[in-house]
Every structure is written in C-alpha cells, then in structure tokens.
C-alpha cells in the first residue's frame, strides 16, 4: 500500500482534486455541511499527498511519473531509440517546493473560506472551481511536458476567471475577470506559439528532451521572448501588470490568496523555461538583466502605485506586484551569473535561494494579509480605508495577524520576509550595489505604506457605526493562524528551512543536466 502511494503520488496529486471537483456538484445537493466536509477531506488528502511526495523528493531525488506506460518509472520505451514519447511528470526539488506552497496555502484558505463565503449562493460551483484551481496549480508545477503545462495553465486561468467574477458585484467583478481572462487567453496562445516552435524544430514536447537538443537558434530566441513575455504578464510583472489590482481586489479574499499562488506558478514556469530549457545555451547575462530589470521595475512601480490607494485590497495587490519584483530580482541575479562557477558559488546561489525563499514567504504572508482584509470586509462590509477606523478594539486577533503579515512584508527581523530579503540584499549587493539599495528603499516604502494602513484600519477611537462589530469567526481565525504560524516559524528558524528546502530547490533549478538525466537517463 505504501509502495503504491509512493509510486503513484504524482498522479494522485492531480486525480484527487479532479475527482473531488467532478463529484462536488452532486454532493453539494445533499447538504452544505456534507459538501464542506467533502471539500475539506479532498483538500486534506491532496495536502498529505503533496507532503508525502515532497518528502520523497527531498530524500531520494527527482521523481518521474510516466502516464500511460506499463511501468511509471520507465521514461523511455526500450524500442524508441532514446526518446520519451509519453507525458512525463518530473518532480524535482523546485516542483516539490511549489507543490508544498500550493497545498499549504490551499488548505489554510479553504479552512478560512468555508466560514467566510458561507453567505453566498452557488457554493458547489465555487468549491468545484476552487479544487480545479488547486489541480491546475499542482499540474503546472509538476509537469515535465510543455503542452501539458499549457493545458494546466488554461485550467488555472479559466477557473481563476470564474472565481474572480464570482461576486458579480454589479458587474465590477465580471469586468475585472474579463480583463484578466482576455489577457491570459492571449498569453496562453502566445505560449502555445512558442511550444509549437520547439515542436517544429526538435519534434519533442518533453522539457528534458528539448533541453538536450537545444541549439539556441534564432527561432529559439523568438520562442524565448514570446514565452517570457506571456509568463511575465501572467505573474503580474510590471509592463503588463494592470490586470493584477483589478483581479485581486474584486475576487473574494480567499480566492485572492490563491491567486497569489497561481501567479507564482506562472513565475515557476518562467524560471523553469529559462533555467531548465535553455540554461547556459542562452546569453545568461542579457536574459538575466532583462529579468532583473523587470523585477526592479515591478518593485518600484508596485510600491509607488500602492501608497496612494484607498481600497485596502488594491493596495495589497500593488504590494504583491512589488514583492514579485523581489523574486524576479533574486533569481535574475542568479541567472545573470549562471555558468560562471566562482561567482555562482560566491553569491549566485544565495541570490536564487533568496528569490525562491521569497516565493514561499510571499505566498504565506501575502495570503495572510489578504485573508485579514477579507475578515475585516466580512464584518464591516467595505474595503475603503477612509471608512475604517478603530477596529483594533473589537478585532484583536485579526489585528495581530495583520501586524504579523505587515511586518513580514516590510522585512522586519523576527518574521520570514526579513530572512529572504536579507539573502537578496546581501547577494545582490555583491552583484550590483545600486540594485540592493533600490530593494532596500522599496522595503522601507512598503513599511511606511503598511504603517499608514494599520493606522487607518485599527487605530483611533471606536467608530459609532462599528459599535457592534465582533471578532471574525473561529474557522477563519484558524485559517489565518496556520499561515501566521508558518510566517513566524520561518522567520525564527530560517536556516533549517533554507538548508532543507530552499537550497535543494535552487540547486535543482540551476542544474539542467540533473533534470535531463532524471528523465532521459545517463547524461
């Protein structure tokens, strides 16, 4: 039984949420309580599978799963002459890390959502789409096949668009969803053109196979530009960021926290293409600088747009853009010195680790912040900062969670944001001091912005219209508490996390030949 689970964990990771999603409309007819229990059960099982798979990957190295083969470990059929012909899931340390992020955030968000979205209609469909979103994220981060990546990307964007429009809200939410969906459809089609170019050149769809045949011709450069542009748009980096504030602010808060993870799955795709598909064949300095510039622009533009916002979720969305910049900056610096082993050893790996550590930290604290915004909305019915005030008297726990999230995003010491930002500062300073200074200034501006938000939400006298406001319900607090606990834990003990999870992920990402060898065998 254990062996069966271990072997088939990658398939189960997709199957469980899918079966859960297909059955939810039926089960939803029985009673809301049964439906909640069912969704929670499926999510728990998915989380356990993800953790099991991740532990397996971190202990025993990259796991592959071949769909449709008699033996799921045999990537290359004996008679095929050394080419993989089926869809292969390749779960290396980086994928496993992303799966853990998706699973834990999904679990916490679901706990929160069961209580927070109770008053709405159409909840069977809501949870169906939620599970499909989880399946999309899991598929995107674990697949080793480009076309499969595209299919899961589409599952993710369609379910996200449906969920962003969920509240309808006099058409506003639909408008935000429409904007997001038009952009992501065009983005996905552009990615498909890139995949088609690879297929036309190398007659392969498997990432490892294309990587082993990669010659970096002019066509490959076109494909690289198309894919980087589309994925940078999907992860909300600056030149194409304008969908982010709309979508993040109009979605239900629980979904916004998941959208953060969804955009990080696109970020993962970007890193996977650059590092695994191309690696040293591309001009690492140029592409690295492109990604660094995208990152710096995102950081600066995000934070400057955030400061004047009146809507608390829009403000947080602009901060999300700014934090995405840190990840791009860290990993971009790692890419810029890729192939140069001494520089890589001295600061390249640390920069990549910082960027990747920031992905997991960002998912946790930004999810936490969006959930607190949702809790406030749940009780007082508005996101407008000018209408809030004095809530610290009645919503103490929410206030504490907000403080934890805000200090973490600003990079204040005992929280996890500090740990990853410190790694980024140190390594980026060694690469180019100006970039490090910009990163620090952005961090200070973030702190200033959140101090202002904190003041206008929680401080001041109790307002008369919020006399009867109570603390958020317990399940919502538990959901926020899970994320807050992780934020504090990672902040207090960053070293074991970096050594155990982040460093293997960064090395797996940079190590193209290891990835190819895991699929194609040999080297």
């Amino acid at each position: 039984m254990n062996g069966f689970l271990m072997t088939n964990a990658p398939a189960l990771l997709i199957m469980l949420p899918l079966i859960g999603a297909f059955a939810t409309p039926f089960i939803g007819r029985v009673s809301p309580r049964v439906r909640s229990a069912w969704v929670l059960l499926i999510m728990t099982l998915t989380t356990l599978t993800a953790l099991l798979l991740a532990s397996d990957v971190f202990l025993n190295g990259t796991q592959i799963y071949v769909f449709g083969a008699a033996n799921p470990d045999l990537a290359i059929p004996l008679d095929s002459g050394g080419i993989p012909i089926r869809i292969i899931f390749t779960v290396d340390a980086m994928s496993a890390l992303m799966q853990v992020i998706g699973a834990i955030t999904g679990f916490a968000v679901l706990l929160y959502s069961i209580s927070a979205d109770r008053i709405h209609s159409g909840l069977e469909s809501f949870y169906t789409l939620f599970l499909l979103m989880i399946a999309g994220i899991m598929g995107m981060v674990s697949t080793g096949d480009l076309f499969n990546f595209f299919v899961f990307l589409e599952i993710l964007s369609i379910s996200s668009a449906g969920l962003i429009a969920y509240r309808i809200d006099g058409g506003l939410a639909v408008e935000a969803a429409l904007k997001y969906f038009i952009l992501s459809t065009i983005g996905a089609m552009v990615i498909l053109i890139g995949i088609g170019i690879y297929y036309g050149e190398y007659n392969a769809l498997n990432i490892a196979m294309i990587a082993s045949r990669m010659q970096f011709t002019l066509l490959d450069q076109i494909a690289l530009v198309l894919i980087i542009a589309a994925l940078a748009m999907k992860c909300g980096s600056v030149p194409m960021h304008f969908w982010t504030p709309d979508a993040y602010s109009m979605a239900p808060s629980s979904i916004t926290a998941m959208l953060v993870v969804a955009s990080q799955a696109s970020l993962y795709g970007l890193f996977r293409v650059v590092f695994t598909l191309y690696n040293v064949t591309l001009n690492a300095m140029t592409v690295g600088w492109i990604i660094i510039i995208l990152g710096v622009l995102s950081m600066v533009v995000g934070v400057t747009m955030a400061i004047p916002q009146k809507n608390v979720k829009r403000l947080m969305a602009y901060h999300a853009i700014s934090q995405t910049g840190y990840m791009l900056l860290g990993v971009g610096v790692g890419l810029a010195v890729l192939g140069n082993q001494p520089l890589m050893e001295s600061f390249g790996y640390i920069a990549m680790e910082g960027g990747i550590f920031h992905i997991i930290n960002h998912a946790m604290y930004k999810g936490l912040l969006f959930l607190t915004a949702g809790a406030i909305f749940f009780r007082i019915g508005t996101y407008n900062l000018n209408k809030m005030g004095g809530l610290g008297h009645s919503m103490k726990y929410t206030m504490i969670f907000f403080i934890i999230g805000a200090l973490a995003i600003a990079g204040i010491p005992p929280f996890n944001g500090f740990a990853s930002k410190l790694m980024i500062y140190e390594s980026v300073f060694a690469f180019n001091p100006v970039l490090a200074v910009i990163a620090m200034v952005v961090s200070i501006l973030t702190l200033a912005s959140f101090v202002k938000v904190f003041h206008s939400i929680f401080m001041g006298p109790k307002l008369p219209e919020y006399e009867t406001v109570q603390e958020a319900p317990v399940p919502m607090l538990i959901g926020m508490g899970v994320l807050a606990a992780i934020v504090i834990l990672f902040g207090l003990f960053p070293q074991p996390v970096v050594d155990g999870l982040i460093a293997p992920a960064a090395h797996a990402l940079a190590d193209q030949s290891g990835y190819i060898a895991a699929v194609l065998g040999g080297a």
Partner: protein, 157 residues
C-alpha cells in the same frame, strides 16, 4: 422566440439524424476520422438546432440543464475511472490495459492498412464514449445557460 412551424418541424426531423451521425462518429473514433470530441460536438449541434428553432421555454422542458450537467459529470467520471482502472491493476495512470488483451475491445491489429474492426483498441473506444457523453452535455448546457441569461434580460427591461 419561436420560429415558424416549417423550421420547427425541420429541426425535429434533423435531430435524430444528428444524434445518430454523432454517435457513429463517437463509436468509430478509433477507426475513422473523428472521436469523442467531434461526435459530441455533432450531437450538441443537433440540440442547438432544436434550441434555435423552438423558444427557450419549450426547450427548457425538453432538454433539462440538470440532466445535461449530470450527464457531463458522469462522462468525466467514466473517463477518469477508465484511466484509473490501470492504477488498480498495478500499471501507471492512463495505461491502455484492454488493448490486445482479448477481452472487451481487445483484438490485436497487425501493422499496415486494413479494413478496420470495431472490437479493437482497448480503452480508447470507452474513453471516446465517455468524452462524447461529456462534450454532448457540456456544450448543450453552455448553450442553455447563455440562452437563459439572455432571456432574463428581456423579461426585466
């Protein structure tokens, strides 16, 4: 809006033919061009003709959203169940366990052109049927939803 009697009768007459043609495409997916998606789309087109010819209120009684949704979910569950069949037998997800097995759809085929035999291809015909059921239900229910959404506006304004 109900169309003229000529159109309605014509649509009713066309519907069984579309149904049979679609089912033929679904069932022969592993032998001739076509398959579950294409056949399902043909059947759904038959339903679309009926929907266009009759008014929404008439169609809502004939083709029910709930049944179509259930049909779609059932098709998907059959599809994923067929794929998971291999897991139970100790192979990887999506393995074609019935091909060349001698049982249902289990005749083997040698290489080269041949006239075609329906009882071949293992799980592929089953998956074709499952996908056909799903697409049939899915496309029809999308049409019904869009139509009902447009109808509500007319009532309101």
């Amino acid at each position: 809006m109900r169309m003229s009697k000529l159109v309605r009768t014509g649509a009713d007459l066309l519907y069984p033919f579309a149904l049979i043609f679609g089912l033929y495409i679904i069932l022969h997916g592993h032998l001739t061009p076509g398959g579950g998606f294409q056949g399902g789309a043909v059947v759904a087109t038959g339903a679309a003709i009926v929907i266009v010819a009759w008014a929404y209120e008439d169609v809502a009684g004939m083709i029910r959203k709930v049944t179509m949704k259930a049909q779609e979910s059932a098709g998907l569950l059959l599809f994923i169940g067929t794929a998971a069949l291999a897991l139970g037998l100790g192979y990887a997800f999506f393995t074609n366990v019935l091909a060349n097995s001698g049982s249902l759809f289990g005749l083997s085929v040698p290489f080269g052109p041949n006239p075609g035999e329906l009882n071949t291809a293992g799980v592929i015909p089953i998956m074709n049927i499952a996908v056909g059921i799903e697409v049939w239900g899915g496309l029809t229910v999308i049409l019904l939803y869009l139509l009902s959404g447009l109808n509500k506006k007319e009532e309101g304004s």
